[in-house]
């Protein structure tokens, strides 16, 4: 018997008598008007920054927020950066990026998370090797909690998806979260409807 068959055989012999699957619920409580406020609060808990409407000039906004940034990689049509994801065919080279600008198709109010998949990023590493990340999110794409979030098709279709919630951090020294750890140093979400102006 091969290893696979042997393990499956042992598991089958030893597993307890069948126990039924419980009924699942979505536990939604919030009115849609409260989703943005809750998202903002949760993102704050996770040390992310929320900008509640598109700035008049995204370029000026980025220059002001990241005055030392030379390499801004844009994966969105709303903004032309100094580079785009395809400029980093060797994914480790995304470490040269100062700021990545991407769009997320989903926000989660409960946790302040945004979904990013390989289609949104094109080169996955632009989301962690860049020093800072700016994420555009349409306010009507915010759902209440993780139960609802996991119904998004990306989780079944995309090779890689991450629910990103604030900048990288670690509580491994002394138990209190500090930022940054090894991935992005800051994370900013701009509430930006999909059809809004480009700059």
């Amino acid at each position: 018997m091969g290893i696979r068959e042997d393990i499956l055989d042992r598991v089958r012999r030893n597993q307890p008598a069948a126990i039924p699957h419980p009924d699942l619920r979505d536990f939604t409580h919030l009115a849609s008007a409260d989703l943005i406020t809750t998202f903002a609060r949760s993102l704050g808990v996770m040390a992310g920054v929320l900008i509640d409407k598109p700035p008049d000039d995204l370029g000026a906004f980025l220059r002001e927020k990241f005055p030392d940034a030379k390499n801004i990689c844009s994966a969105v049509p709303e903004y032309v950066g100094t580079s785009k994801p395809e400029d980093y065919p060797v994914w480790a080279d995304a470490a040269k990026i100062d700021v990545s600008v991407v769009r997320s198709p989903l926000g989660v109010a409960e946790t302040g998370s945004v979904l990013l998949s390989d289609d949104d990023l094109r080169v996955n590493t632009i989301a962690f090797l860049a020093h800072d990340i700016v994420i555009l999110l349409a306010p009507d794409k915010i759902v209440e909690n993780i139960h609802v979030a996991y119904q998004h098709p990306a989780f079944k279709e995309k090779a890689y998806s991450v629910l990103m919630s604030g900048p990288s951090g670690s509580a491994d020294i002394g138990g209190k979260e500090v930022h940054p750890a090894q991935a992005v140093m800051t994370l900013t979400v701009i509430l930006w409807p999909e059809s809004a102006k480009t700059s």
Binding site: G2, I3, I7, L8, R10, V11, R12, R13, N14, Q15, P16, A17, A18, I19, P20, H21, P22, R25, V45, M46, W91, A92, E110, T111, G112, D118, N124, T125, F128, L129, N145, I146, H147, A149, Y150, Q151, F155, K156, K158, A159, Y160, S161, V162, L163, S165, P167, S168, G169, S170, D172, I173, G174, G175, E177, V178, P180, A181, Q182, A183, V184
Partner: protein
């Protein structure tokens, strides 16, 4: 027959306790995590329902595990992933070494994985010329200091920031007198990112593995699983067979429970889903048994396989908090370690079940409702049957057994334990045997033994 000596947790704890300031630091830190967990849980109205669901989903999955493993494998293969199976640590390590050697990969970066600790993989690979870099901050600290993890969530929590400053000064030449966590995290960032960028292969463990999609899910705050799993083209994921959940709808329940239970945060910064290799890459998943299928058949102990490795039972445990994680001499420590480790080596870990006050706090906080303290007691019985215990421990067992066999009394004891748990629960002081009972306030009236206390309270019950 085990070739390792029996782990004497109590004596190991005594060494830890010899440094009072260290003990207090660790105890305070662990308790602050327990308090953060309580606050965070109280903000979720359906918290108890989530715990019930988490427990029920795990029980359902484990009772259909063979089918779900097959489903997971089929989904992963459809996604273009190569799936491997390993009976034990040795087979697991061999598979990893073979994959790396096929690619000529010599630099491996990895995120934290208790399974690879279980397999002692780092040493195996390093003996074969592979440089392994831990990218989790806590795990890296322990690697640089040549120590195993002392906690399953924060491997280096037993070290103070000053200790870490010394470790980094030696390894990285940083300022030994700067113990600010922000500074130390920055040092880690600078040194590890350089290694990540030039790695040949990346490895992650799995917090969960979703059968319907073949997805490996990791939860990190540092983004290091995303870096390890995305920067190199070659990705290897080690997955314990008990990590399977049926669907993403099931997964949601656990994601809501995990980080809140662990550190009191609503979620980890990166909850990452690796379903398929990147377009120009390769992805391998190794499904590892290593004693799990055997445990699944143990009537009293299979429920320990529900564990989602949140560490909450450790943070709340008065013995763990006052012993330090290294005192257990095992991969898993604290209450969950006590009920898991004897399945790996019954003789070596025969004394661990006595490193507990049986106060029940671990079971009370467990997000998947494992009956941890009952299993600890059941292990004591097993050790007794198998003559694996010293006489002195037997009397402790009898006393605890009396309490556990009287539900009303047990409630009184655990209620007292819960309210005074920040200090050592009273009935923990039932003998002079346990090092972690020393140095504590003695809440029993002078001269009263546990047995006297027990007799008096039994009447009340």
């Amino acid at each position: 027959m085990s070739v390792h000596p029996v782990v004497d947790q109590a004596s190991n704890a005594a060494r830890f306790l010899a440094d009072r300031s260290r003990e207090e630091y660790f105890d305070t830190l662990m308790w602050s995590l327990r308090e953060a967990r309580d606050r965070s849980a109280s903000e979720v109205p359906e918290w108890e329902q989530l715990r019930d669901l988490g427990s029920a989903i795990k029980e359902h999955t484990l009772s259909h595990l063979a089918d779900y493993l097959e489903q997971f494998e089929a989904s992963a293969k459809r996604n273009g992933v190569e799936v491997h199976w390993a009976h034990d640590a040795h087979e697991h390590n061999q598979i990893v070494a073979e994959i790396l050697s096929r690619h000529g990969a010599k630099q491996l970066i990895k995120s934290k994985s208790m399974l690879t600790e279980e397999c002692d993989m780092r040493r195996y690979l390093e003996n074969r010329g592979v440089t392994v870099t831990e990218t989790d901050l806590g795990e890296r600290i322990q690697q640089l200091d040549d120590e195993p993890p002392a906690h399953i969530v924060g491997p280096a929590w037993q070290k103070s920031p000053e200790d870490v400053a010394r470790v980094f000064a030696k390894a990285y030449g940083s300022d030994p007198n700067n113990a600010a966590p922000v500074y130390l995290a920055h040092e880690m960032r600078v040194h590890t990112r350089a290694l990540i960028e030039k790695a040949d292969a990346g490895m992650t463990g799995a917090n969960f593995a979703v059968a319907e999609t073949g997805t490996v899910v990791t939860a990190t705050n540092e983004g290091n699983a995303d870096l390890s799993g995305n920067v190199p083209r070659l990705r290897i994921c080690s997955v314990g067979i008990e990590k399977i959940v049926p669907t993403h709808r099931d997964l949601a329940v656990f994601i809501r429970l995990l980080s809140r239970s662990a550190v009191g945060m609503p979620i980890t910064q990166y909850t990452s889903h690796f379903r398929a290799p990147r377009r120009d890459g390769e992805m391998h998943i190794i499904l590892v048994d290593n004693g799990r299928s055997e445990r699944l058949g143990m009537e009293k102990f299979w429920q320990s396989l529900k564990c989602i490795r949140c560490g909450a039972c450790m943070n709340t445990c008065p013995v763990y908090r006052r012993s330090g994680g290294l005192s257990y001499g095992s991969t898993y420590m604290g209450p969950i370690g006590i009920i898991m480790m004897p399945t790996f080596d019954i003789r070596r870990f025969s004394e661990l079940p006595f490193s507990s006050t049986l106060n029940g706090s671990c079971s009370n906080v467990c997000p998947v409702k494992i009956n941890i303290h009952e299993q600890i007691y059941a292990w004591r019985e097993v050790m007794d049957e198998k003559h694996q215990i010293k006489l002195a421990k037997k009397s402790a067992m009898v006393a605890a057994g009396e309490v556990l066999s009287h539900p009303e009394l047990y409630r009184i004891v655990t209620a007292a334990g819960e309210t005074t748990l920040k200090r050592l629960p009273r009935f923990a002081i039932y003998n002079d045997f346990n090092a972690w009972g020393k140095h504590r306030e003695t809440p029993l009236p002078a001269g009263q033994t546990f047995h006297e206390w027990y007799k008096a309270n039994r009447r009340k019950a």
